[in-house]
């Protein structure tokens, strides 16, 4: 069935494009490789084409152009029911007229597995998600979290090549969601199954994934492990989308190897890591994590020290969040750890704040 691919990628999107209406691309050009056993997450705002990608992988939508490879074989022309891909839907899509046992047995029955084998596998799968006693219930008689687990068990019970999950925790409340994140992650590690996960919740993506593909505007903005994504965003969109972020926009006036000098506001110059800038004279946006900012640094200890006016303070227990006006931007956030001798601030105070050049990343200026 098609050409064999020798690279170690287990799932591979190759130059995939997709349009629904023939007028605009939903997916502009997708290249994505996932290794066997990897937990890869597609993260992006609503409408960015994440579901479309999953549906193309599952076979419910066809790629307008390009190729999708699974386990070395092109699956473009394989009908969805022959792809052997497990899928967890956002609304779970448990069959309401069947019991939990029957729901789990369904994929095995259509594969003509022996009856005793089905029973054994169903029992094991249910125990795996700690629902051993609930086999004879109907989905409606289960709580949201339990339904979620059944859906996961059903997508795994027939040992598919990969499992796709489209915002599977979207309908759960926060606490349950965090617990399920943990459980799904654990299952993934135990079963060593390849998971392609879709979410618009960045903390969920950061918690669970081996690698995250940040989607926007029909292309992957950055594909990287969570820590890299957070600490080294490659463009303004990723920096804004992942975690909390201060932005200072300005103009590049000098570049010295990795460090560039940026003019921000009225005659203020800042030094930042040159990550994604076009050259001297171009507009840039400096991205800086709030926790990397130090209040009242010793003179000369940081390359960037500017004065800031405290506008607002919010007490959050473990830290104090302070909104300040820095270089003409009045949405500059600083997180002050609630340590024994932390700076005592009051709104209206003027203080000094400082940060390292390596913590400030000069990125592309969004239009």
């Amino acid at each position: 069935m098609g050409n064999t691919n020798n690279s170690e990628a287990y799932v591979s999107f190759q130059n995939v494009q997709k349009t629904y209406d023939g007028e605009s691309f939903v997916i502009k050009n997708l290249n994505l490789d996932a290794e066997r056993g990897e937990f890869i997450t597609m993260l992006g705002p609503s409408g960015s084409g994440k579901t479309t990608c999953l549906l193309m992988l599952a076979g419910f939508e066809t790629a307008t152009y390009g190729e999708i490879i699974l386990d070395g074989t092109s699956i473009n022309n394989v009908p969805p029911h022959k792809r052997n891909i497990g899928m967890v839907f956002q609304n779970y899509a448990l069959f309401p007229h069947l019991t939990v046992n029957e729901n789990l047995a369904f994929p095995l029955q259509v594969r003509k597995v022996e009856k005793y084998e089905i029973e054994k596998k169903v029992r094991n799968a249910l125990e795996m998600v700690q629902l051993g006693e609930y086999g004879s219930r109907r989905p409606m008689q289960l709580s949201g979290g339990q339904q979620q687990r059944v859906a996961v068990a059903r997508a795994l019970v027939f040992e598919p090549k990969i499992v796709l999950m489209d915002e599977p925790l979207g309908a759960l409340d926060k606490q349950l969601r965090e617990q399920m994140q943990y459980e799904i992650k654990e299952l993934h590690e135990k079963l060593e199954v390849t998971v392609v996960y879709v979410t618009h919740d960045q903390s969920e993506a950061l918690t669970m994934s081996n690698r995250i593909a940040v989607f926007d505007d029909g292309i992957i903005q950055q594909l990287a492990p969570p820590n890299v994504l957070y600490e080294s965003p490659e463009n303004a969109f990723v920096a804004q989308f992942i975690g909390e972020n201060n932005t200072l926009s300005g103009k590049v006036i000098a570049i010295n190897k990795e460090i560039c000098t940026v003019e921000v506001g009225e005659n203020e110059t800042l030094r930042a890591l040159a990550v994604n800038i076009e050259g001297i004279g171009s507009d840039t946006m400096i991205s800086l994590r709030p926790e990397r900012v130090v209040v009242n640094p010793e003179n000369g200890s940081y390359p960037n020290i500017v004065s800031a006016e405290v506008i607002e303070l919010i007490y959050l227990g473990d830290h104090i969040r302070s909104r300040m006006k820095v270089c003409g931007h009045d949405d500059f956030i600083v997180k002050i750890p609630n340590s024994a001798h932390h700076a005592q601030l009051k709104p209206g105070n003027t203080v000094k704040v400082g940060w390292l050049a390596e913590d400030a990343r000069a990125l592309d200026a969004p239009a």
Binding site: P80, H81, G86, F95, F106
Partner: protein, 422 residues
């Protein structure tokens, strides 16, 4: 709210028991709720409950004989109808007396009409008696009455009167089941084959209604599926086409079928044109059972489509996708996952169509001919032509019982709560 120390019942701050306060607080909203449903309740009482009770009563009511011929009924008590003897002078005397009084009240023809349902000839017998009875003013009444009409000397005449002298009768029900109680010996016997029509009609009604229900399902299911799965913008337009028939008169729809299906009609002409049938082989598709089935399937189709559509609309598309992603062929997924979830719609649509069909009468009357009429056509006939309301009512009651029975059966097997009407 505090706990009263001695009695251990909850009271409000002013010491009134909690239950009383709650009831008081709810009284007003209950009253408002009642007032809101009252017009409908009143309407249902007048328009629905009362007629049904009246119908139940009419189907067993036989008080007319006892009311118009009270003395005769009284004197007939001692007479044995099967002893092959005419009643005695006293009975004839009472009869003359009763007819005189009935004549004055202008009711002697009513009793004639009533007894005529049992045996023809009674209408003329009482009309004649009413004319001549005034001249009879002295005994022997027996001879005098017999002189007005020989039939008064016939034991059979008196057997009929005797048998109908109780206030209640099962006679209408016997008739509705093609049975009769012989006047000559009082035994219940089935009517001869040529006179039995009702059982045959009941069966035909049930059979054709089932067939119509099945056809509306077969035609309506794919339509509903399509409607439920196109974008809402399109389905809103298409649903208008489903509802379109409701905006056209039932008569127009039925008669247009006559134009299409009759022997000189459009369809026969077309079939001849394309050479499927010959000029002498024109198909009889109207004024028979075929006509009834075709026209009624068309007319009742929306009642199948709408509940099916509303149920299918609520079935998430992800069910089918989930089933397919789990490895089921699309057909298997449809049959094992989608179809069972349409059950409530199928149930609701079927029961709606079936119940409407079983009581339909305009369409069968217009296009049914003799082989395609329904039991309701007999009811209509008895209500407006023969004026035998008792028999009409008893057939109506039987129809009602059949429907209720099927409804209960449905509830037992499928469950009413699984039905979704919209």
């Amino acid at each position: 709210m505090e706990q009263s120390p001695d009695k251990n019942i909850l009271v409000t701050a002013d010491g009134i028991p909690l239950k009383t306060s709650l009831a008081r607080a709810q009284r007003r909203s209950k009253f408002v709720a009642f007032m809101m449903v009252f017009p409908l309740l009143f309407f249902i009482m007048i328009g629905f409950i009362v007629p049904i009770v009246d119908m139940l009563f009419l189907s067993i009511d036989n008080s007319i004989v006892n009311r118009i011929l009270p003395n005769t009924v009284e004197s007939l008590k001692n007479w044995d109808p099967y002893a092959n003897e005419l009643p005695d002078e006293a009975v004839y005397a009472s009869m003359v007396d009763d007819i005189k009084k009935a004549k004055k009240a202008r009711e002697h023809t009513k009793i004639g009409t009533r007894l005529n349902y049992e045996s023809s000839g009674f209408a003329s017998l009482f009309r004649k008696a009413g004319r001549k009875v005034q001249k009879i003013d002295k005994p022997p009444y027996k001879e005098a009455l017999i002189k007005t009409d020989k039939r008064w000397a016939d034991i059979y005449t008196w057997q009929v009167i005797k048998q109908n002298s109780s206030d209640l009768t099962d006679g209408y029900y016997l008739a509705a089941f093609d049975f009769t109680r012989k006047f000559t010996n009082g035994k219940v016997e089935p009517l001869p084959e040529k006179d039995s029509i009702y059982i045959k009609l009941f069966f035909r009604t049930l059979l054709l209604s089932t067939l119509i229900t099945f056809l509306t399902f077969v035609i309506g299911f794919p339509v509903s599926y399509m409607l439920a799965n196109v974008p809402t913008r399109i389905s809103n337009i298409l649903i208008i086409f489903v509802l379109l028939p409701f905006w056209t008169s039932l008569l127009v729809r039925t008669t247009s079928w006559i134009a299409l299906l009759q022997q000189e009609g459009v369809i026969n002409d077309f079939l001849i044109l394309i050479g499927i049938i010959s000029e002498d082989g024109r198909l009889a598709m109207i004024h028979n059972a075929t006509g009834t089935v075709i026209a009624m399937t068309h007319i009742l189709l929306p009642f199948m489509i709408l509940p099916l559509f509303s149920v299918m609309k609520t079935i998430p598309k992800s069910y089918l996708r989930a089933a397919i992603s789990l490895g089921a062929h699309p057909w298997v997924a449809f049959w094992r996952i989608y179809f069972p979830n349409t059950g409530p719609g199928i149930g609701a649509g079927s029961i709606l169509v079936f119940i409407l069909a079983i009581g339909y009468y305009i369409t069968p009357a217009l296009v049914g001919g003799s082989s395609g009429t329904f039991i309701s056509n007999r009811i209509a006939y008895h209500i407006s032509n023969s004026l035998n309301w008792g028999l009409g009512s008893s057939i109506g009651v039987i129809l009602l019982v059949i429907v209720l029975f099927l409804f209960i059966l449905y509830d037992r097997i499928i469950g009413i709560k699984n039905m979704k009407l919209g």
